[in-house]
């Protein structure tokens, strides 16, 4: 019942696609929140992601050399998240806040500049070369392999992929609670829907903006760390490489809709991986070199056909 085609499809295309989709989804949450609440496309978002993964690597290397412990990346990510959120808030305070009442394009230029500033700061401090994040080859989870093999549905899924999928699920559920049940989350949704009305009802917009950076920064660093766990290395261009798929995911899901962004991220991740599957004949449908193009094509089609996205997001 598990022929070799299905085995190959599930293990080498479907599961990696979902994993990549989870990473894009987390990144796109921050993009869609800043787009919805602050009303600008934040080009520096990918760099916060990249900085977070560099900080995570640094903390685990520090702890490793001082105490000799090998920290799990997800634990080393905690201090990295704090620092990255702090950086986000500082950037907002000194580089974006002066433009709050200017045309939005000024903030876009500023964020485009910050993209380069943050990246070159990381390149100055850590150097431009790739750094190994996790050593060794990731083996498939033995228990899953055995159980699924007995059921004649052999699954080869390494532990890192389980971490990524479970982590994304937990963060999404947490976000649902935050936006649906807490006071600040409701305020965030209110500002996203109509800033003037929100301000008139006495919502502290600046506090909402700070909360946006905190949530966006948290999700970005988690996406960066998951990305680093998956590829097992970090490099300074990883944020820029992720930027286009994340924008595509945010637009696909509808601007200002975090759950739309999650769905959009999964769609984009799956589309990128599945586009390399030999659907017709033996050759990959689209050469893997053009993966980034897939996300872009989906985004452009979406912008033309339905700019509000799948879930009726905001259009400008």
């Amino acid at each position: 019942m598990w022929d070799s085609f299905a085995f190959e499809f599930v293990n080498f295309y479907l599961v990696p696609g979902i994993v990549l989709g989870c990473i894009y989804a987390l990144g796109a949450i921050g993009i869609t929140l800043t787009f919805g609440i602050l009303r600008f496309a934040n080009f520096a978002h990918g760099e916060i992601m990249m900085t977070g993964s560099y900080l995570t690597w640094t903390f685990s290397a520090l702890v490793g050399s001082v105490f000799g412990w090998a920290l799990h990346p997800l634990i080393a990510a905690i201090p990295a998240i704090v620092v990255a959120i702090f950086i986000s808030l500082l950037v907002d305070r000194y580089f974006y806040k002066p433009f709050r009442n200017s045309p939005t394009i000024m903030i876009v230029i500023a964020s485009f500049g910050m993209m380069l500033v943050i990246r070159s700061a990381v390149q100055t401090l850590w150097g431009p070369n790739q750094i190994t994040f996790v050593k060794g080859i990731a083996k498939p989870n033995a228990w899953v392999q055995e159980v699924s093999n007995n059921a004649e549905l052999l699954l080869l899924i390494p532990n890192k992929h389980f971490w990524i999928m479970a982590g994304t699920l937990i963060i999404t559920l947490g976000l649902a609670y935050l936006l649906g049940q807490t006071r600040i989350g409701k305020a965030m949704r209110a500002v996203s829907d109509s800033p003037e009305l929100a301000q008139a009802t006495g919502i502290d917009v600046e506090a909402v903006i700070r909360a946006t950076w905190v949530v966006g920064g948290f999700c970005a660093v988690m996406a960066g760390v998951f990305m680093a766990m998956d590829t097992q290395f970090i490099e300074t261009t990883m944020g820029f490489r992720m930027l286009l798929p994340m924008f595509a995911a945010a637009i696909l899901g509808g601007i200002g809709k975090p759950f739309g962004a999650v769905v959009g991220g999964l769609v984009i991740g799956l589309a990128e991986e599945l586009s390399a599957y030999p659907w017709i004949g033996d050759a990959p449908l689209i050469s893997p070199g053009y993966k980034t193009g897939v996300a872009f094509t989906i985004m452009v089609i979406m912008l033309i056909v339905r700019p509000s996205g799948l879930f009726k997001g905001r259009t400008f």
């Binding site: 496309a41 394009i105 500023a110 500049g113 070159s120 100055t124 286009l244 700019p307």
Partner: protein, 356 residues
């Protein structure tokens, strides 16, 4: 004397690259300064121009498509046309989008162009790039040019060889620099003309108040596409000149968005968006800061390595390049916040009719 000559040639190459950046800044000025179109895909359009020029004009090669060995001017013209054509296609699809979306779309286009240049190895030689690109004036001393028409009409091969042997080996450099500057001047004059014409005034009107311009019967979408294409054509020409200057182009290092797109944006904003003179001034100014900071940092590194022998000059040097980018980024933020209209702010042509 040799040292003086070295400085002179360095100065000329500074002027050349400054001129090429001035072209890019002028092209961006049409798109952003005149029409308010946020294009962050400059590197992509320049790459299209550079690769078109390279493939059309290089001598036959087994590594990439062609080398068709066509005349240089022809390569330059096709480079402009192709950059214009691609921008026109993008314009038709994306021009109606809000500025943020257009920015995302153009950054995406630049990435796609890079992907194509990297992956279509049969056409572009992939990541290894194209080399031996003929440079205007210097190309005259290549055998394939002086043995064919029109040069062969005036002199035979031996005669040309003797002539080029008698010239110093840098004879082409001042000529090439002057050619670049001449083109900057021509583009500048044409754009000034456009800015003062009804077309230029209409562009300003569309940028400042789209609804009012539309109500006055202006075809907003079409005019925007026009501005986008004109800007891209200029960028394509700049790309062709850049290919000539470098003689070796590759998709990733030559057309790095950080060095190309970003630097051009800093130039235009520093010089003054909407002002053609500002674009040229900003280009030369930022390019001078960029190049002289390289010399200064080199000097500082030498001093540091001499005083602390534990430091590795190579590592410091590679890091210093990024520090430079960081400083340019901060300059942009500073200008954006303090002097948003740049050194030479935009000046509108007077509204009065001269005949009355």
């Amino acid at each position: 004397m040799d040292q003086m000559l070295g400085y002179f040639l360095y100065f000329l190459s500074l002027l050349t690259v400054g001129g090429i950046y001035a072209m890019l800044a002028l092209g961006l000025n049409v798109q952003w300064g005149f029409a308010g179109l946020f294009n962050v895909g400059i590197a992509g359009f320049a790459a299209v121009g550079a690769y078109t020029y390279a493939i059309l004009t290089t001598a036959g090669s087994t590594f990439h498509l062609g080398g068709f060995g066509l005349p240089l001017a022809f390569g330059g013209i096709v480079a402009m046309l192709l950059a214009g054509l691609i921008s026109g296609l993008i314009g038709v699809i994306c021009i109606r989008l809000r500025a943020d979306y257009l920015a995302i779309a153009t950054i995406g286009i630049a990435e796609i162009i890079k992907l194509i240049l990297k992956n279509e190895t049969d056409i572009t030689n992939g990541p290894r790039g194209i080399n031996k690109i003929p440079r205007a004036w210097e190309h005259l001393s290549e055998e394939r040019f002086y043995t064919s028409a029109p040069m062969s009409w005036f002199n035979d091969a031996q005669g040309w060889e003797a002539l080029f042997d008698s010239l110093p080996n840098w004879w082409w450099q001042p000529m090439f620099t002057l050619t670049v500057l001449l083109f900057v001047f021509i583009i500048y004059r044409m754009l000034e003309r456009a800015r003062l014409s009804p077309w230029g005034r209409m562009m300003t009107a569309i940028r400042e108040n789209e609804d009012a311009a539309q109500a006055a019967g202006k075809d907003v979408t079409r005019r925007r596409i026009e501005a986008f294409v004109i800007g891209a054509v200029i960028m394509g020409l700049a790309g062709a000149f850049f290919a000539q200057h470098l003689r070796l182009i590759d998709p990733t290092n030559t057309f790095d968005p950080a060095k190309m797109t970003f630097l051009v944006w800093v130039m235009l904003i520093a010089g003054g968006s909407g002002n053609n003179r500002g674009a040229i001034l900003g280009a030369f100014l930022i390019w001078t800061i960029w190049s002289s900071s390289e010399l200064m940092i080199d000097g500082t590194i030498k001093l540091l390595v001499a005083s602390f022998d534990t430091l590795d000059a190579g590592i410091l040097k590679s890091r210093a390049g990024y520090l430079r980018m960081l400083l340019i980024g901060l300059i942009l933020q500073f200008i954006l916040q303090r002097y948003p209209s740049g050194i030479l702010p935009e000046s509108r042509p007077a509204a009065t009719d001269k005949r009355t």
